[in-house]
Assembly symmetry: C2
């Protein structure tokens, strides 16, 4: 499984993803699930992937090859005029990869599906954030739904629903995502450290910060420990219940 | 869907369940999912059900009929000498109902499965808590895993993992379950109010408290609102993140 989140803030876009891939619990590997194409100052595009790893890797490779072979007839992420077109290209590529696998390969119990979150900015247009389904269609984030999660989304959702604020700083957003990931890591073995973190400040059209958070990362470890204590205090601060007699 | 939780505390057993049943999002009904058999001072047995409603109701009806027809050849919940035997009877009944439906009915896309949590106490033996699978087998709670959830378990799990304490009072346990249910209700439409709450104090062998928490319940409403604020404060109390430059 996987857990990844992208949030649209007034300050820009922030992305976080785990790195665990598993086929059963006895076959665990580490793979990056965050991919970025950047032409500094002109465009920055980040994809988070969840689902079948072979599918995700094929899509990323195809997308990447096209950016390096400008004569290819197919549009490249680096040439698309808008983020909507970028999402479209990714959706089409994803759909084709899954279709090719399903139609031409031997039958398999595996689900070849993958879900992708893509966010970014092209110079002169505000940042945009999309969630792309295995069928190739997609939805865009809005003021009502300003973040997308993919993979093992449920454990870490309540805290985002409660604490997200479009005005929050990137630093606070990292704090929020750390808590959301920590809740997920604590409850589900199929999500694992290290985590990838990336921030794209609005109108810079580049990756402003990029970081890999390792297992023993001091900040993440502190948040994980403090959150347990803070939750207990929060819990104690709630009004007491009493049974009616 | 459904959300229900049972916890084993040093003080006794506590149960909470929602009441929403849905077949798709356009067919929502309200059904009790908590069922109790009680011979005051001798035994108390509580079942929480999740999964296919027809299956759950058939199992509960069969179990209940047998307690009222003592000449029936099949053992009754009220005669089983131990909670292990009680769990066994429920598991066998559940398995038979599902098997009969699957083997003899027309094919259906519906999953006839159901999961049940059963807890209770028979006089002279400590309280016990079991989780029964659709296959009829079951596991028992332990000091390491002193609570069971069924249905839509993920949203409300992190707070239980963090705040559960076997020494907590029933009042604190109600507080904890209120937060866990509130997180689930906020995130998933298939779980809905009202909630059923029940407490069986150790060695009383009876239902010590029983309550239906309605949509506008003042305590639950207060917890739901306060928890949002408390979480925000807890969140703010965490150490601040700063980007490396």
């Amino acid at each position: 499984m996987t857990y990844c989140v992208a949030m649209r803030l007034n300050q820009g876009l922030i992305f976080m993803s785990d790195t665990r891939t598993n086929a059963g619990v006895d076959n665990i590997s580490k793979f990056r699930k965050m991919f970025t194409w950047e032409v500094e100052g002109e465009r920055v595009i980040t994809i988070l992937t969840a689902g079948n790893l072979a599918t995700s890797q094929a899509v990323i490779s195809l997308l990447d090859e096209r950016t390096k072979a400008p004569k290819e007839r197919r549009p490249s992420l680096l040439e698309a005029p808008t983020m909507f077109q970028v999402a479209n290209i990714i959706g089409e590529t994803l759909k084709e990869v899954i279709k090719a696998q399903k139609m031409t390969g031997p039958e398999s119990e595996a689900d070849f599906g993958a879900t992708m979150i893509v966010g970014g900015q092209i110079n002169g247009i505000p940042p945009r954030l999309f969630l792309i389904y295995p069928e190739g269609n997609f939805i865009e984030s809005s003021d009502e739904t300003p973040f997308f999660q993919a993979g093992e989304t449920k454990y870490g959702r309540p805290i985002i629903l409660r604490a997200y604020d479009p005005n929050m700083s990137f630093e606070d957003a990292v704090k929020l995502l750390s808590v959301s990931f920590d809740s997920t890591l604590k409850a589900n073995l199929s999500v694992g450290m290290p985590l990838d973190l990336q921030v794209c400040e609005v109108d810079t059209c580049r990756v402003t910060h990029r970081q890999r958070i390792e297992e023993n990362d001091p900040y993440f470890t502190t948040v994980s420990r403090s959150w347990g204590d803070a939750l207990k205090l929060a819990f104690q601060s709630l009004p007491d219940f009493s049974f009616r007699n």
